[in-house]
Amino acid sequence: MSTASAVVVGESRWANRMWGALAWVLGLVFFFPVFWMVLNSFKEEQDANTAPKLFFHPTLDRYKDVTKSAGGLLSFGEAFTNSIVIVLVSVLIVLLLAIPAAYALAIRPVAKWRDVLFFFISTKFLPVVASILPVWILARNFNLLNTRLALIILYTGINLPLAVWMLRSFFQEIPKELIEAAEIDGASLRGQLTSIILPMAAPGIAATALLCLIFAWNEFFYAVQLNPVHGSTVPIWVTTNISTRGDFLAKLSAASVLACIPVVLAGWIAQKRMIRGLAMGAIK
């Protein structure tokens, strides 16, 4: 921890306030596009599609517009259901696979753990877009196009390297003596995991799960290539709110707010954990 008390001896109150004010100004400016998007979501289209207006008659109609189902098109309900299922299941699977793997790399390391770790990280260097063709062909051959399963599998694959890397460093934080004591007491791998490792690494696991959730929820490319008809996710749904005829900015803003709320709220609430997670998981 670097900052101690709010009062620094010898620093004038004025200087302290100035830095604080600067932080506020920059924060607000940086946040502005989000703020404006939320504002626009409550406007009539004619209010949104003109020179920027701060004052207007707010309405919830845009939200109604984007959430009502229009026959044949992807509906808000369908997209959200798909996304929720796909994301939760894939994050669950990621944890189920990554936790034992992280154990094998941190607590009782295999012989070439560094190489294995490098391998995992290196898979992220292969651009997703480069593999789309084989993936698409395989998906078609296995009848997985337009299914949730396809995306579940792919999202698991995308997040696994990150999860393994982060969980490994969290597990490393656990004092070796605790594990050794458990070994002596006869605990099996599962016993050690449940009684010692998971409880102690719980914040780290939460941070890892949150990051995987963010990436899976926001993923667009695989979703739009593989699931354009069924099993479509929220990112796809957002893009259906653009239209070539007529104004759409307010509707788009409303759709965007709905699409982003789950992850943004989760991120806001779990901020501190996520910071700790990125800090420890990434650095070590």
């Binding site: 302290n16 604080g20 932080a23 009782r108 490098f118 990280i121 593999s131 803003s253 806001w268 800090a279």
Partner: protein
């Protein structure tokens, strides 16, 4: 008294089974994740290699014939669209990474003090990273950069200048700005972790030793932040090389905004339908990524080595 070798397991009543050798016990938990990843990443890769050695086209339909290295030798480097895409990739990776790190560090330093509402400011600052890339692309294009109603142009007009069609006239810059906006929070969090991991007493010692705040930053903090900056560069590069979403929704390709992933997409299932050639481009990208990866791995191993000494 049996001298059982590693493969036989004799079970005798009252005596527990001879366990799997220690090495295998250690490997076992790793296998599911490892096997999954290998299947999911290596199989498509091998398929891509195979396709890249053919002249597979969908339009006009023709039988797929094996042509060896034809794609690589004759088409690849003559295709100036490809080299253009490479340049765009470079510009859309290097500058946003640098921009996000510089801005992220600045924000982290501002946030690293105690002031009223510090948590709230931090909440505001991390939000762009949490938002959906397609949303970010669409919002910036239609709300901020818009030629007529865009917020930026409103400010520009108030300052007396003429409005600018950002996305159509300066696609690279526009996308670059969006990427910086979205990735600065990520870098900020990494730098914040770095700043907060500095031992407080070292900073106090520097104060007692007479160092002014800027001198402390330059002489102590920066070198402490080095591994964090390297990590930011590593992770930022990995993710930014693959940017697709923002390009798709903001410009749909086009000169100045087509990076290599988008180009490969265009060449294959995005309308070009030239699977053979597109695959060869993919493989080139993979090779290039491996080269970059090797360099980055040196950075990584430096980071990992540091953890053993400390």
């Amino acid at each position: 008294m049996t001298t059982a070798d590693a493969t036989t397991r004799t079970v005798r009543p009252g005596i527990s089974r001879r366990p799997l050798s220690d090495a295998w016990r250690r490997r076992l938990p790793l296998l599911p994740a490892l096997v999954f990843t290998i299947l999911l990443t290596q199989v498509p890769f091998v398929m891509s290699v195979y396709y890249s050695l053919t002249d597979w086209k969908i339009v006009p339909p023709s039988p797929r014939e094996f042509v060896g290295l034809d794609n690589y030798l004759h088409h690849l480097f003559n295709d100036h669209f490809f080299t253009d895409a490479v340049w765009v990739s470079v510009r859309l990776t290097v500058f946003p990474v640098i921009g996000a790190i510089v801005l992220g560090t600045a924000f982290a330093m501002l946030l690293d003090r105690n002031f009223f509402g510090q948590g709230l400011v931090r909440t505001l600052l991390i939000t762009p990273f949490l938002m959906m890339p397609v949303v970010v692309g669409l919002i910036w294009k239609n709300q901020m950069f818009h030629g007529l109603y865009g917020v930026l142009n409103w400010v520009i007009e108030k300052l007396g200048a003429n409005p600018v069609e950002f996305v159509s006239r300066y696609p690279t810059v526009a996308i670059g700005i969006v990427l910086v906006w979205q990735w600065t929070p990520f870098m900020m969090l990494i730098m914040l972790a770095g700043l907060q991991s500095q031992p407080a007493d070292v900073l106090e010692a520097a104060k007692v030793d007479g160092a002014k705040p800027f001198a402390i930053f330059r002489q102590l903090t920066l070198s402490h932040l080095r591994p964090y900056i390297e990590l930011g560069i590593l992770l930022g590069t990995i993710y930014l090389i693959q940017v697709y979403d923002q390009i798709a929704v903001m410009t749909g390709g086009g000169p100045g905004s087509t990076n290599v992933p988008y180009f490969v997409f265009q060449k294959s299932i995005g309308g070009g339908w030239e699977f053979g050639q597109a695959s060869s481009y993919s493989i080139v990208v993979v090779v290039a990524s491996i080269v970059i990866a090797t360099i980055a791995l040196r950075v990584l191993s430096g980071l990992l080595k540091g953890e053993e000494i400390a």
